[in-house]
Symmetry: C2
Subunit: 176 residues, 2 copies
């Protein structure tokens, strides 16, 4: 039986940082780069109160998030040797449910509905590996946690870290 | 830490059999009872080809399913001693996602979004107990499976069986 991997959506498959930066530039005419975000909270970074939350609740936000670079090719490659599950903490934002499913069907049509999980917390997810950008999801995971770099986790050192999808492939192909 | 229970929606919290029988009576003027269904497939039972599938794809179907008798009170009681997760195989029917969430918020407002999971198959769900009416979900479950009686599972004998929510309470309160 293949080993199993739970893969997060926002910040791992879907480039939510880029979506926020793009929308900010569209609305305020200010172009920030990903590097500017590092080490700051989104509220510090965007002076408009609650801006990120407002964006997240805007219809279309989740459906139009750009792909994380290399994600499609990497997931296809991993599927040769692993059973892949997409596990997204979507339940906090009910509006996101159909949009996230639409996004997955558009960009990852080769992932079956059988392998998609939308949840609240991820504490009852049981796979061999979990790739996620949030420590709250990885800290209590019973398998092997893999932290995908995002601006909000750069200072954390207690999980294996990958900076991009090439590094995921290198790490996991050695364990297949 | 409390033990965890994964509870299925359709056929366990939500009385999907009753919804189908009610809609059939509404559309064809024929009143069947639950006992008539036992031991038959839905296609044998309803001569109209694909009727159940047609109902399941009708907007409003999942949002208006009646509650299973005693479910609300039983879940509230179980929450005193267990951590409860609602785990529904909703991903096969994308239209059902917002309807199921709406239904849960209406009937079980005391269940947090953190404890709701919509998935495809349930093979990566890891709780101490799982209450479900489908053997395909229970057979590979690593915790203790509990089969909730439905017309389609009456002849199966390889899991602990409960016939109603009173029997769930009796079974699980002894294990808290």
């Amino acid at each position: 039986m293949k080993k199993t991997i739970a893969i997060d959506m926002d910040g791992v498959l879907a480039d939510i940082e880029m979506q926020i930066l793009n929308w900010y530039e569209r609305d305020y005419g200010i172009k920030h780069t990903r590097e500017h975000l590092i080490g700051r909270s989104s509220d510090e970074f965007f002076p408009e109160a609650g801006l990120v939350r407002k964006y997240i609740y805007t219809p279309g936000f989740f459906q139009t998030i750009p792909l994380m670079q290399g994600a499609v090719e990497a997931v296809q490659k991993l599927m040769e040797n692993f059973e892949i599950y997409v596990v997204s903490a979507a339940m906090e934002f009910p509006l996101s449910l159909p949009e996230k499913l639409h996004w997955l069907n558009e960009h990852f049509p080769f992932i079956s509905w059988r392998n998609i999980i939308f949840c609240g917390d991820k504490s009852i997810i049981n796979t061999d590996y979990m790739i996620d950008d949030y420590p709250k999801n990885l800290d209590y995971f019973k398998g092997k946690p893999i932290m995908f770099t995002a601006y909000h986790n750069t200072t954390l050192t207690h999980h294996s870290r990958v900076n991009n999808w090439n590094e995921v492939i290198t790490l996991l192909e050695a364990e297949a």
